[in-house]
């Protein structure tokens, strides 16, 4: 990956324990390019003001910058005209909103289809929706290495399903489920299709003009943007029937003594003062992603992943988790008789930022009969040299731990 990209990310020049940081926890959150940092700083320094309700110049400027981000988000995902771009606080917020908002459309006996590879953010809200509506939950069967069992995915399996909510990319294994096939089955069987794109959005180009879905939830902080912002793309016709997310300022049409009426979409779903700086910074994160060749960035991430997997597979006692095909950017592993946290803390002393734990995916942990794993995950700027440093740090740490 070219050094022009790395040089845009100041965090990558930081030192940890006197060592150059090797940031390999991108599935958790990504460092930010200088353009994003500058945009957030610029708003707070030069035109900090509330949006949509100020008539003075700062307010006009902030409102315009906020709405510009919405337009850039629409074009970034090639969202069709029948979808609305909403800003949320992140994927968790977006998915909770969708699950809660669909409760009135669910009845006893309906089925919500989920997958055991999903993040808790795309499981727990649906469990609550099922509990409140009387709907059932069914899980897509998975194979030993946690890919979807394609043989099971046919029309009959989708019978009775009202909502299908699955991840676009596993945050534990990097597995990319067959979204097109599932989308086609959902369309054919009139099923609301929800994609948790928290991981997918930053690692693979997405064209919602081709990939038909009803809700597509992302977290901007995993896409080189600010924390506390999510982009939720939603079918406008479904939003029309959903209750507002928050009641209060900015989302009303008219307030009376007894009752109030709601603004039109999208304002109806963005009540209260939003994360203005974060949304403004979002545009710059998306522009950063648009400035690089996404296909070659994905290929680069797949190539370094494959290099990492081969190197780890050569270390005694390491068991790689998940499939080695149809994956991108994420590698999880277990080490016989070594706890992931011990390894994570020790490799940090070599400057390597590695994530350890259950990664908010306890169903998948159960599938692998594991409690926690070590996880390395890539961004567009990571290099083969960094893979070498991480592998050496892991080897050295295991020498102490075993």
């Amino acid at each position: 990956m070219n050094s022009d990209i790395r040089s845009q990310f100041p965090l990558l020049s930081e030192k940890v324990h006197d060592k150059q940081v090797v940031f390999l926890d991108n599935a958790s959150t990504t460092p930010k390019p200088q353009s994003v940092i500058d945009a957030v700083n610029d708003y707070y320094t030069h035109y900090c003001s509330n949006i949509h309700r100020s008539v003075y110049s700062f307010g006009e400027k902030a409102s315009k910058a906020y709405e510009d981000s919405r337009e850039v988000a629409r074009s970034f995902f090639s969202a069709p005209d029948d979808m609305t771009v909403l800003f949320t606080a992140g994927a968790t917020d977006g998915l909770n909103f969708v699950a809660r908002g669909l409760i009135p459309s669910l009845s006893e006996g309906d089925t919500i289809l989920l997958s055991p590879i999903d993040h808790h953010a795309n499981l727990v809200p649906w469990q609550i929706a099922a509990e409140k509506s009387g709907a059932n939950i069914k899980y897509i069967p998975i194979t030993e290495d946690s890919t979807f069992d394609m043989a099971a995915l046919d029309d009959s399996f989708f019978e009775g399903v009202k909502v299908c909510a699955i991840t676009g990319m596993s945050n534990v294994t990097g597995y990319l489920p067959p979204l097109e096939k599932i989308s086609a089955l959902c369309r054919k069987n009139n099923i609301i299709f929800v994609i948790d794109a928290a991981q997918l959005a930053s690692h693979a180009p997405v064209d919602l003009g081709n990939l038909s879905c009803d809700f597509f939830a992302t977290s901007v902080h995993k896409m080189y943007g600010p924390t506390g912002v999510g982009i939720l793309l939603a079918k406008t016709s479904l939003l029309e029937d959903m209750p507002p997310r928050l009641y209060g300022g900015g989302m009303i049409d008219h307030v009376g003594y007894e009752r109030s009426t709601w603004a039109t979409i999208p304002e109806r779903f963005e009540g209260g003062t939003p994360n203005i700086a974060g949304v403004i910074g979002t545009k710059y994160a998306l522009e950063f992603l648009m400035s690089i060749n996404r296909e070659s960035a994905k290929k680069h991430e797949v190539d370094i992943l494959s290099c990492l997997r081969s190197a780890l597979a050569n270390i005694d006692g390491i068991r790689l988790i998940g499939p080695d095909q149809d994956t991108c950017s994420v590698c999880s592993f277990l080490v016989e008789s070594v706890h992931a946290h011990d390894l994570g803390t020790l490799v940090d002393h070599s400057g390597v930022a590695m994530r350890t734990g259950h990664h908010c995916a306890q169903l998948l942990m159960r599938h692998f009969n594991a409690h926690s794993t070590s996880r390395l995950s890539f961004g567009v700027y990571n290099t083969f040299e960094e893979v070498d440093i991480a592998v050496k740090a892991i080897r050295d740490s295991l020498e102490f731990l075993r």
Binding site: H341, H358, Q362
Partner: protein, 130 residues
């Protein structure tokens, strides 16, 4: 953070529960941040002395901490063991590792890893207090 002493404590099997007769399950201590857990078993030798065992899934810190706990309360009465836990946790929360938590003194108290050894003691103390 990691010393040979800590490693020794973590790998010491003296107090690991191995289905020995006479022990009853006292409590399950859980580390909510990572789902690790330690089950504590207790055997009352007589009215005045107890013996403890631990078993679970955890990192070096949590295993070492469970070992230290069992080692320290060996031979105390239940009441004394409870008091001992309360006092030492209080000291730790005031920033004193003391002799009891000496092996963990490489872990700064504001580190996210502090919970990895603290939860075993805190879980046990809470169970005693119920």
């Amino acid at each position: 953070m990691y010393s040979l002493e800590l490693k020794q404590l973590a790998t010491d099997k003296t107090h690991v529960y191995a289905d020995e007769p006479g022990f009853e399950h006292l409590c399950s201590c859980r580390n909510r941040t990572c789902a690790d857990y330690v089950d504590i078993y207790v055997k009352r030798i007589d009215d005045h002395t107890v013996e403890m065992r631990h078993k679970g899934e955890g990192c070096m810190f949590s295993k070492a901490s469970a070992h230290v706990l069992c080692e320290r309360v060996k031979g105390m009465s239940m009441n004394d063991a409870k008091e001992y836990l309360v006092q030492n946790l209080e000291r730790l929360d005031n920033g004193e590792y003391g002799e009891v938590f000496a092996a963990f003194s490489g872990i700064p108290l504001d580190s996210s890893r502090t919970v990895c050894y603290r939860y075993v003691w805190a879980g046990c103390r809470d169970c005693f207090s119920e």
